[in-house]
Symmetry: D2
Subunit: 422 residues, 4 copies
């Protein structure tokens, strides 16, 4: 990650968010396509609210609140801060307009500029830490803004495109990299963040874990492989599925990954940020739930990796991949493999693990309101690793823990297989 | 009603709709606040779709469809025309934009101008009848556009106003007109539309009905009277309510009419198209369900009028009142009474009757797709009469039958009492 | 109706109820198959509670309450009497046992015998009227006990039989009576009960109604005719249906009347109180909703009769038919027609009318708790006429108004067609 | 555990089940109080179905199926065996009667006696293993039969008792054992079952786990301590709760553990298998969800133990406690503590751990239908340890993993606290 100053990190993050929202109309930025998703306008405002509430109101005495009701409207889930607007109603806020929300951002940015000028560039004050957290928080919402817009546009029969396919896609590879497994020694490994550089609280503390010997696939599962699973009745065979997953799949009538649609001429297509596009068979399968990933793994005679297995491999690999900065905004086929590391560990798609999102031994939430950031979500969710093609550059890392409920499909989620040692 | 030519009726209607939507942003016009309501943009497009589908595609050979998917997106409920977009999803259509919908309207208007030029001004051809129907259809959607925007804005904690209070409201009258009942002779009366001028199919045929002698209140029930009902425990006493109504009221936690909110300083206020405003005690109570109207009547020792009772009185009264053209867009206190007729029969608020919406003897739906207009809704709904302060001028009449489910509150609905003869 | 004394009516009614419950096990009498149905044990207890609460506690000073909690457990919906057990929970009351409920009945019967001895046989006191009402109320529950047991047994894959087919069914007639329509003059007719003999409050007062000339079918629609409707796509064509009905039918996946099941060997069968039985093509179709009846009528180019039309014809016909006393407990093919009256007006199946259940002009609920008997249900329901094969003998009459929501199918409901005059 | 032969284990298990069902009426044994619970009759039949399907049909050629539809009715969730009756409908099976189900049990027992006579007493054949599994499976249903009956009786306002309080309860101790924590060394420990004696597949394989040093409470949390939590606003403070837990608690309106009810005279009481009884302040709190247990731990400045922490302590402790065989069927106050081990590790209440129910490294489900026994439930559930006062004697062990969703409260579930090393 480039050596940003705190002020540099702040201005870069804020500018990136604004650029991501640039293609959206007022209406695009207002609609909410499901309770789990939020309007783009809400993402723009909430990330500003975070700085206003956590930093400016407490740390900049001259700060004037932008609007007396925005504290109510744009608090996400912070019980310690107060009452808030009901999440399923976010899409009804046609006012404030997108322009007003942009004015709110400018208002906060102006104040933050003054605030940052008062802090030394590597200040370890509580406020410096909160500003850094606020930037990483906003990066998370950059990704959510894109996933939520995709979900919204996918509900629209006109299938709008968020962006043009620039740069053009690589041609589908007719000979994808063969799927192989690399063996790893077990034993005591270290898991979790060691404190150098930024990390979210849930990545800490670093701690020893004993793992058995295991094998990990050299690349992600592709669309072509997923179609084999479908052709073999994967969505019709309950014996492949977790009980909850089977019940969910039946009720939701899943027959393919989210956003897939079969066209008589084109064959299987998928809704993307560039509109409806033919599937690339060599690209990683995307928009699958944990339930589907798990069923696929069972069908393949494999299993999902644990967090510890994944992290151990990823710690040794270079932190590079197809992130949002590449501009593709879709997962790409695995590049030619080197001997050293599995491909696609970072970027492309978030990789479901078999690990429930739970606290590391010795985990302590941060004091204050930001203590609600991760800890209270440690039930009912699975950990995903590695980032995706809509994750901001420099946001993720080997210890990074993303988490979603096992039925979630609207994130850029895929599957990498693991096995016990032969 | 002024003697519009068909072309005049068309252009007046279309211009009025456009004017009503003028204060709305793209986002305002896109959001859908509940399944029963539709986005303003949808109203703008659907009314154009009606002309495109019912008139232009069939009757103007040169007509070029505006967009191949609009037939799917903007069909409301016409099974005979084909598949359509799911109603609860209308608010997710951020595209087409409001500007594109306006372009659609212009495209249709241009073609309609050509079409109308081909029809004699009083032509009784099938197309002339369909165009006239389309105009009255669009007038209905003008009213819905306003009721749906009010519902949307009422969900927003910022309580946006659709318009400024122009002209200024009359001061609350401290001495409202006393409530009295006029007695009417019973016997055989004629009900339904006789065919002179436009009417919807459900108003026909005219037919004799035998009614017992009855009495009808000289004005609508006021907000002050409603507060007496509330103060006397009207919302807490199940013995006043229909069984379904009590169950609904309990589940929905009704304690006052829709949009009412108690403010420590201001007392009872109500959300209006001019934002949150103090209640006028002399104005008619508004935004009540049939269930509430019926409970109030029982509490008052009275009952709701039947359709036949209401229509018999209204046929003899002048067709004038506080309609949308007045610009108030809110119900007003009853004017000083003349000796001749009950006040407020037309305009202000739709008056719930005790009559289920059912076919008149000999009712025949229109042939073709427009036969789905009214007949298929003849179950589960109650008839309302008289129009409201958001009903377009010249739209309603003594025989006009509006209908909603008994729990509906987002329309401008109120109550006039009736009694059996003394 | 035979000239029962009040004591005779009471003892006959109570003995009939006990006999109807005799084939049931404790478990059969306890289960509740859906919210709208009640356990047989509950019917047995509630009808006793009615006498205990309305008559004994008020009118027999020496009466000792049987159990302090039965007032809570067995109050159905009387808000004026107090709190009550939640209806959907009735099936969880494994205690009191069936034997205890029978002991409750005996306890009430003993006290009622003392009470009745104090009243003159034709006493018109308030208590005599309440006892008479209690007997007719219990007769209604006799019918419900049978309809609810059929629904319960229909949920059981073992398809238990409530009774053996005694006497044996008539052979299916291969030449059912041809369907014809009798014409009736319109004009002013009298509707409603004139006060001689017992009637429920909702049948009063008698009042004039103006009806247009009409025609009424000479018999009920048969299973064979219903199969023609099905074969012609009746369940697939939305243009035949009310909008609410179509939505309900799609959601509930209706493809045939309730309880019908297609067997590869037997063809269409239906669950009956004698277990699963082959359909008799000449017997009346049964277990259809108002929505289906209405769609069938539209398909057939006819309509449902109004209450007034049905009652006018029925007043002139003999009050006889296939009631529960016949022991068949299933609708039978129409007998050979005489010239005088349509067949099957009484008994076999309740006939859906197109009339919403609403108050007659001048309707006044009874004073006291029994005022909740009918009036508060006058919304959202349709009137049915004529009684069924599970209606007790001597229970119904020409003015009798039964009522159910338009989606109800578990009652013995069928269809007779009507038309406007040719 | 006593050295049962396989035949002895079978006959003892079957007789115990029959004895547990003895106090129930046919109706008691038929009702289903919620989807998650099953009727007692269903437990009686399903456990017999297990032997019939897994053992007799495959291994006893002379076996005659008892009833052709029981395979459909009493299959719980085995997709590989075939279609089955819908779980939420189990309470509608008033037939077969309880007597018929007992006859089914006898029929299976007779055949099993023949089958067992053909197997050597320590036979390691597949069938011997399946019979042993079937016995442990039936023991699980013995516990469920009691928890489900308690839930059913708790819905009944009459509050029936399943048994009399025999032997009489110990008096509430006014001086409960002080709560202390014992410290344990961390390091590599072994977790999971080593294969000697019976275990369920999910307990295997034994494997090393690295644990940090920790402390474990010397007894369970008591009712008196839970009341302190309540008095301190534990149910009103969202900051103590997991996000999912808070949402669930608000929606379900939790204010106290399940079955608690406040009586003006008696104070807090709780529904038990002996009916409604005053709370014993020194007894362990029971019928709490994981969400509540977790909130309590946070309030107490502690946390829940992990599976590994609990198992490590329990392996060293004697396998004894207050199980169902004691006849109390309710949790008891902690006995005087010895120096050696925490009290109440086994019996009294199942102890929630912070561990999600997930597969051990190297976990392999059993081949065949019994492979569906545990593995497919490894999502969305938390592990509980130690058994309860309604767990059969000799059923549980240190490696035993019970599992329920985090909102479940109708099991006998409680809380033991843990902490990181000081």
């Amino acid at each position: 990650m480039p050596a940003f100053t705190l002020a540099g990190l702040y201005s870069h993050t804020r500018a990136t968010t604004a650029a991501l929202a640039a293609p959206l109309s007022d209406a695009d930025a207002t609609a909410q396509s499901m309770t789990e998703a939020s309007p783009a306008k809400w993402h723009l405002a909430h990330t500003s609210w975070f700085f206003e509430t956590m930093v400016l109101k407490a740390g900049l005495p001259s700060y004037q609140e932008f609007h007396p009701q925005f504290d109510y409207l744009f608090n996400s889930y912070y019980e310690s801060i107060g009452e808030r607007h009901a999440r399923p109603q976010r899409g009804l806020l046609t006012r404030p307009s997108l322009d007003e929300v942009r004015a709110y951002r400018t208002h906060v940015d102006d104040a933050m500029t003054r605030m940052l000028a008062q802090l030394a560039s590597h200040d370890q004050s509580e406020f410096a830490k909160l500003i850094e957290l606020g930037c990483h928080h906003e990066q998370q919402h950059q990704e959510l803004l894109l996933t939520d817009i995709l979900h919204l546009f996918a509900q629209n029969p006109l299938r709008p495109a968020y962006h043009e396919l620039e740069p053009p896609l690589a041609q589908p590879s007719s000979t994808p990299t063969p799927l192989n497994y690399t063996a790893y020694e077990g034993g005591l490994v270290t898991m979790g963040h060691d404190g150098s550089g930024f990390a979210f609280d849930c990545e800490t503390p670093a701690h020893p874990v004993y793992v058995q010997p295991w094998r990990l696939a050299n690349r992600l599962i592709t669309n072509a492989e997923w179609q084999e699973f479908m052709a073999d009745g994967g969505y019709q065979n309950p014996l492949l599925w977790l009980s909850d997953g089977w019940a969910y799949a039946q009720q939701a009538q899943w027959q393919a990954p989210a956003y897939w649609q079969h066209d008589p001429q084109e064959g299987w297509c998928s809704m993307t940020l560039a509109g409806m596009q033919p599937l690339n068979p060599a690209a990683p399968v995307c928009h699958i739930s944990l339930y589907e990933a798990d069923a696929f793994a069972r069908w393949a005679g494999a299993r999902l990796p644990t967090e510890a297995e994944w992290e151990t491999v990823a710690r040794a690999a270079p932190l590079q991949g197809n992130f949002a900065g590449s501009g593709f905004l879709r997962p790409l086929p695995a590049p030619p493999l080197t001997q050293d590391h599995p491909a696609q560990l970072f970027g492309d798609v978030w990789e479901w693990t078999s690990s429930a999102f739970s606290p590391y031994p010795g985990f302590r939430p941060e004091p204050g309101a930001v203590g609600e950031y991760n800890g209270k979500f440690m039930s009912g969710q699975y950990v995903l690793r590695g980032g995706s093609c809509v994750t901001p550059d420099h946001h993720t890392r080997a210890t990074y823990r993303n988490f979603f409920v096992p039925s979630a499909r609207w994130q850029f989620t895929g599957v990498r297989l693991a096995m016990d040692a032969a």
